[in-house]
Symmetry: C2
Subunit: 332 residues, 2 copies
């Protein structure tokens, strides 16, 4: 009986997954704004207006606002099967609760899945936002077809998600995949959790800018803050500015340390890098690969690729929607 | 048909695994010596004399010597079903070849599984030695029943193996789980692969002793080399020697950095530590847990245990034998 049920299930699942009419709703819950859209495959068919995260006094109020927008999207897309939401913090994928959100006060032990399901009457799945991004790259993007992946986005912070053996790595309490918090210096800068030398405290956009300004100042050059964002530093380095080039070299050195730690521990096939800093391809990807070729044991580097992410800011919405759809129909 | 076959397979597997007459042979291939024994459950029933690894001119000759000893053990234990061998280097578990061994010259791309199977006419499974140790702790030792584990042994080097989702983590090229090569300082000591700040280059027994001697010398105290081994340093610290205590604090600080990196990436339930240094329980485990409580995000530390390994030097033989038996009968 079980055998036939499984077969039936597989057939109906395949029908769903290849049926181009099937959509799901992805919600990208950020510390500043919440975006959402109806997703089919790699396409975002419709989006709702952004919600200003901090303008709601309680999780319940904010979830009601999200539900209103979701239900609005469903008027045009009644075929949507499921809702997925990526959230910036420690999220328990299995029971659908948020443990805590990093930059959104008041979110502790909130039963998001239950609350949102009640408002929308659709199945809801939640996960960490970087896990959703990694899921999008793995299922639809630069990591398609790979079994072992490390995906990261570089921005204000470092978001990351890990795929192992064709499965998103969540760990014992759904708290795995925090590359930004791993240390590159045991006596280094004091970080968010009292830890030392966290990658994020060296290669976050603000930290890159501050370090660049210090380097310019040490060389007797004053630069306005605006000049030290990744785009300006890229332009300067490409135009022959030796100090800007030094900033990029330092960035590659620090990032490669954390990525090699991933390689020595996880032996991935590919590392996928997205976000603002990653747009400077020749200044980042080439030096990274060069360092890693010279500092990784042969079996780790021989088949390793470092790839730019396929998706930009849409990764969160795409990933959340896809993860929810696949999870609902029993796929990893 | 497949359904019935699967069922039959499961029944016969369970019969084998609960049948106390079933044994397997574990071979612990070290850089200096090779030990082996017949294993039933957690018990090594019989051992063979050690083989001096470096006295054989070629892999083929050494494999023949191993086979002779294995076949000798089988005279008394004809019920042995399978041979497992743990080896110190990059080993491809899936195809049974050794990519390279760290301290044994001449071992490159050796088809160990095929050669040993031919000599013994028994199924052979090989894996990295630290993976075998981790397997023993996971299946039979301190990590029994856990789904997410990091296991390490501290000695001349740092050996480690990782369990994720009830599976030994091997990665894309069976090269995962090399905690000893992960960096704790991106500008740190130059390591074996050209990498910087490898954990092993700070907390290997030799490095601990050298750093301790430096610390004593800086404080105007001359100590003989023999005084700076882990046992002597433990005795000294427990007797109130402030410099020895400082050595242990430094060790906990460096090791905790690498272990917290594992936690932030993998979110394990437990970290299991064995080997010489780990015998100094109060000097190592308490400070480690203290640091990690203060420097890990709450969801990562709330259910984390740091446990001493159950097994000592027998872990290699036990793990190799158990891994081979389980693999042969289709278990992770």
């Amino acid at each position: 009986m079980l055998f036939f049920l499984c077969n039936f299930y597989a057939v109906s699942y395949n029908r769903v997954m290849t049926n181009s009419a099937i959509t799901s709703i992805g919600v990208d819950f950020g510390g500043t704004s919440i975006k959402m859209g109806v997703v089919r495959g790699t396409e975002i068919l419709t989006t709702a207006p952004s919600i200003a995260t901090q303008e709601y006094s309680s999780p319940t109020e904010l979830i009601k606002a999200i539900a209103q927008f979701v239900n609005m999207l469903r008027i045009k897309h009644p075929e949507a099967q499921v809702i997925g939401m990526g959230m910036p913090g420690f999220v328990n994928f299995y029971n659908g609760t948020v443990y805590t959100l990093t930059n959104v006060p008041g979110w502790h032990n909130v039963d998001v899945k239950e609350l949102l399901q009640k408002e929308c009457e659709l199945p809801v799945y939640i996960d960490n936002d970087a896990n959703c991004m990694a899921y999008a790259e793995w299922k639809l993007g630069a990591g398609k077809g790979k079994k072992h992946l490390v995906c990261l986005t570089l921005g204000t912070g470092v978001g990351s998600g890990i795929i192992i053996n064709n499965e998103l790595l969540r760990g014992a309490a759904c708290a795995a995949g925090e590359l930004g918090q791993t240390s590159i210096d045991y006596r280094g800068r004091l970080g968010h959790y009292g830890n030392h030398g966290s990658l994020e405290d060296y290669i976050g956009n603000r930290e890159i800018a501050a370090d660049a300004r210090t380097l310019y100042a040490n060389n007797g050059i004053d630069r306005a803050i605006v000049d030290c964002n990744p785009i300006a530093l890229e332009k300067a380095a490409l135009a022959g500015d030796a100090i800007a080039a030094q900033v990029w070299d330092g960035l590659a050195q620090k990032l490669s340390c954390a990525l090699m730690n991933c390689c020595y521990l996880l032996n991935p096939e590919a590392i996928i890098i997205g976000g603002g800093v990653a747009k400077a391809k020749s200044l980042l990807f080439n030096p990274l690969m060069e360092i890693m070729k010279n500092q990784l044991a042969a079996p780790l580097v021989e088949n390793l690729e470092i790839l730019p992410a396929k998706f930009g800011t849409e990764a969160g919405t795409l990933g959340a929607a896809t993860l929810a759809l696949h999870t609902h129909f029993g796929e990893n």
